[in-house]
Every structure is written in C-alpha cells, then in structure tokens.
C-alpha cells in the first residue's frame, strides 16, 4: 500500500542587517547614556517614543528631540503565562504599556518587583536600568519598570492613550 505523506519539514533561515534610521538611532544612543529620547510632531506637538522619524498622524519629519522621564503610568497590562519560542524571559511575567512622563504614546515594557495581583491601570512606575558599565544602545538597557511609592494617576490623565 502506498503511504500518504502527511507533512514535510522545510527549514528556512534568512539573515538581515537591521538599520534603524536616524531617529531610532538617536533613541538607541540615548539609552546607552541612560536617557530616553523622543521626538515631537511639529503639527500636533505630540511626543513619540521610540521615534521613527515621522509623525505617524501627519507624515512630516519629527526633528525636535525631547528627553522624556524614566517614570510613567501603566495604561494597560497583561500577565503572560504561556511560554513561547524565542522569548528570553520565563513566564509568568507582566507586560505593560507605560505612558512615560513627557511622552504622548505608551511604551512597551515589563513590570517586576510587584505581585501580579497588585499591578493595575494608573499605577505609577519607574525604569530600573542596568548598571552604568552595562548601558548600551539597546532596549535591554532598561531591565524593567518597578512600582513607585506614589498615588495612582487619575484615569483622565491617560484615557487618551488606551
């Protein structure tokens, strides 16, 4: 009897050189100095971080550089319990959108030093950086965000960013 082939495996691997462009390069170099750099839309005044060089709403260059704080407000979050291939952090962990002080778009980051059942919208948090010697032009310069001993931000302050 002829056996039916039910599946085949065809491995694919492609390598790329990622070139972040001018705006994102400045952002990455800022991280190497322990600073978070965004850029301002000349039309709306909104500050985008990380910047990609364009105002995503108006299609014009965002040339004015703005340093934002490394503190912010959790706008939304989820608790990841499912392991996935290529993920460097073992679950469970908290992934959150954080609206940095001075920015107009939430920033994706992890939250630690906080029990899961206490993470909430409006929670104030601060970046935990790697040591000065380890700072580099990479997102990994920020290890995670931890809770600040501050009252929660009012919903009105971040409702636009959900």
């Amino acid at each position: 009897m002829t056996e039916i082939v039910k599946s085949i495996t065809t491995p694919i691997r492609l390598e790329y050189v990622y070139r972040p462009g001018r705006a994102t390069s400045r952002f990455l170099r800022g991280l190497a100095e322990g600073r978070i750099l965004g850029q301002r839309c000349p039309v709306t005044g909104k500050v985008y971080v990380p910047p990609r060089g364009a105002s995503p709403t108006h299609g014009v260059p965002t040339e004015e550089e703005v340093e934002v704080r490394d503190t912010g407000t959790v706008t939304t979050f989820c608790i990841v319990r499912i392991p996935s291939e290529g993920l460097s952090i073992p679950p469970p962990f908290v992934a959150a959108h954080i609206l940095l002080d001075g920015a107009d778009i939430p920033f994706f980051a992890l939250i630690h030093e906080c029990p899961f059942d206490q993470v909430r919208m409006g929670m104030r948090v601060k970046a935990v950086w790697v040591s000065k010697e380890e700072l580099a032009p990479t997102f990994e310069s920020i290890r995670y965000f931890k809770p600040l001993d501050e009252p929660d931000a009012p919903f009105e302050s971040y409702r636009e960013h959900l």
Binding site: L14, R19, R22, A23, R52, A54, P56, G59
Partner: protein, 350 residues
C-alpha cells in the same frame, strides 16, 4: 472608461545601501514631493495604495509602518499589495475607474541591502518542491537565459550590449546607481557569475523609494500641464511551475501588451522592467518593439533595482518623459515573480 493620468512622480536617489535612513525616512520626502508637484493636498487624495514586501525588511507588518510617511489622520482610504508598486498603481487605476475616487497616491519602498535579496526572493517559489532546494533569483534567471540562448535569437553579445547601453543611458539619470561607459568586448571577456550570466547581466542591489499621483479627468488637467494619460493598462500571470512555462518568451507580456494597446501605433520611449539583460531581449520581442523606440533611457533595472520599487519607477519615468514634453506616446512595463512570471503593460499618451 474614465480618463486617468499620472500627474506627478518622485523618487529617492537609488543607492547600494542607505545606511542612515529607515524606510519611512526615505519615503517622507518622496511622498511630499509627488504631492506638491500634483498640487493635490494630502487630505484631498481619494485613495492611497502601496507596494512593498515584508521579507525585504525582514519585519512582519513592515508595510504598516510605511504608512507613517503619508500621515493617515483623519483615517484614510488605503490599501497595500505585497508586490511591486506598479501593481499597486493598477489597483489605484481600478479604484478611480470604479468612480469612488478621483485621485490616488501610489508609493513603493524597499531596502534590498538589509538581507540577501537573491535568497529572499526564493521564498516566492513553491514552498514544497522548489524553495527547499534554495534556487536563488540569479540562478533562476540563469536557467531562463540558457533557454533563451539555446532557443531564440538571444546571444551573449546582445546581452552585453543591453548592459552597456543601459549603463550609458543611466549617465543622464541623476537617480541611477550604476552608470558609465563599458566596452562590450571587455564585458564579454569577464568570467561567468552564474553561467551563462556574467556580472553585467545582473542588476545591482539597491535601496529605493518612489511615489506617483494619479488623477482623473479635469482634476488631472488642473494638476499637471501635460498629464500622462493612461490609454491602456493590463497585467497577466503565468503558472507557478517554472517547468510548465516557455521561459524563452513572455506569453503574459504578449497578452498584456495586446490588451493595453501596445501593438497599435508607435512609441517614443519604452521603460521595461528587466532586471537581467536577456529579459529585456525577451520583452522587446514580446512587445514587438521597433528599433526606433528609445528603450530604458533611464538606465532601467540594470542601473538601479530597488526590488518592489523598480516597476513603479518604470511607470513614473515613462510618464515623466510626457510631463517634460520629450515624448508623446510611451510604454511602461513592470514584472513580478521569478523569470518574468507576471507582467504589466501600460500605454500612456500626452
């Protein structure tokens, strides 16, 4: 049928490797230039459509971030094809024909330098029986060149002449990447890269971006002193299996040419999307190109080949000859897929 014209065209300088700017940073000035030349305000554009391929950037949904360059706020009527921007232009033309909109912005971008483009293109092949063997784009083109050399009037000398003429013409194109004077005998003395192709038979690796504005009727006449009216546009595709095709001719180009009106009347200029020298010879034969036609005065894909952009540039370059008053009737061609699998032909008149 509505009268639709290309009313403006802009492109970034084609370069081997754009190290400084990301795709959006490359696109923004190009889109702004095309819109400004059309006089149609950003917010007045009826439809926006782009052509690009995420495998070139190596990032999922790279095409979505491309739209940052057009400023889609308030939300716009938008679409994308995972193909050369020339096929996005076809969609825009259809959209205008439907009567739903009167104008369209078409843009394309691609930085081939980010990966190994010849290998990236392997992923468009049959994923079960062809792609696992990893035939790259140059090798497949070489298979086609072999068939053409053995079965038609294509010769290695004629191929080298295409390369020399393209790069000589490119000297007049400030946006071209590869230009200069080359001696045909010297080219033929070079070793094979992938036999029967030599290095000069192959396109350069290019980073680029381009944008075109289309408009209908009176809006086109107001937007441009000499609109390039699209008198016919058609595209046809051949089957996926390379072995089932006659690689020495381009049957899809013949039909698209017929439907687009390429065989009625003469042309001043033809811009053909032929990344490999023998492909230009196959296309000229399929389109019954008269010797009097100026073929690829821009230098064509052999002078700059930003994959996903090259076809749209052919349409833009051909239209620009009409805009400038240098031509009255032009033909533009774009291709997609391995060995000229799919072909688009567009005839434009002043």
């Amino acid at each position: 049928m509505r009268d639709v014209a290309i009313v403006s065209f802009a492109q970034a300088p084609n370069v081997r490797c754009e190290t400084e700017r990301n795709e959006v940073e490359m696109l923004m000035p190009v889109v702004a230039e095309a819109l400004a030349a059309s006089g149609i305000a950003r917010g007045e554009i009826g439809f926006t459509v782009s052509g690009s391929c995420d495998y070139i950037a190596g990032q999922p949904f790279a095409f979505v971030s491309g739209i940052d360059a057009v400023g889609p706020w308030p939300p716009i009527n938008e679409s994308h094809v995972e193909m050369d921007g020339a096929f996005a232009l076809y969609e825009a033309w259809l959209k205008i024909q439907s009567g739903e909109v009167d104008s369209a912005l078409v843009y394309a971008f691609g930085k081939s330098s980010m990966g190994d483009i010849a290998e990236v293109l392997t992923l468009q092949l049959d994923p079960y029986t062809v792609a696992p063997l990893w035939p790259d784009a140059v090798s497949l083109a070489a298979l086609q060149a072999r068939v053409a050399l053995d079965r038609s009037r294509v010769t290695e000398r004629a191929m080298a002449e295409v390369a020399a003429r393209s790069r000589r013409s490119a000297k007049a194109n400030p946006n071209a990447q590869l230009r200069g004077d080359f001696d045909v005998d010297a080219l033929l003395a070079e070793p094979y890269l992938v036999a029967p192709l030599r290095k000069h038979d192959c396109p350069p690796v290019t980073d680029g971006a381009a944008a075109v504005v289309l408009a209908a009727g009176e809006l086109a006449s107001r937007s441009c002193a000499r609109p390039a009216w699209i008198r016919g546009i058609d595209h046809r595709i051949e089957c996926h299996s390379l072995g089932a095709r006659d690689l020495a001719r381009s049957a899809s180009t013949e039909i698209a040419g017929e439907k687009a009106g390429a065989f009625t009347g003469s042309f001043d200029v033809a811009e053909l999307h032929a990344p490999f020298t023998h492909q230009e010879l196959i296309l000229c034969s399929a389109l019954r190109m008269a010797p009097s036609v100026s073929v690829n005065p821009s230098g064509g894909a052999l002078a700059a080949n930003a994959v996903m952009v090259t076809g749209l540039i052919r349409l833009g370059e051909a239209a620009a000859r009409i805009h400038a008053g240098d031509a009255r009737r032009v033909l533009a061609h774009a291709t997609s897929g391995p060995c000229l699998q799919q072909n688009l032909v567009c005839v434009m008149e002043a």
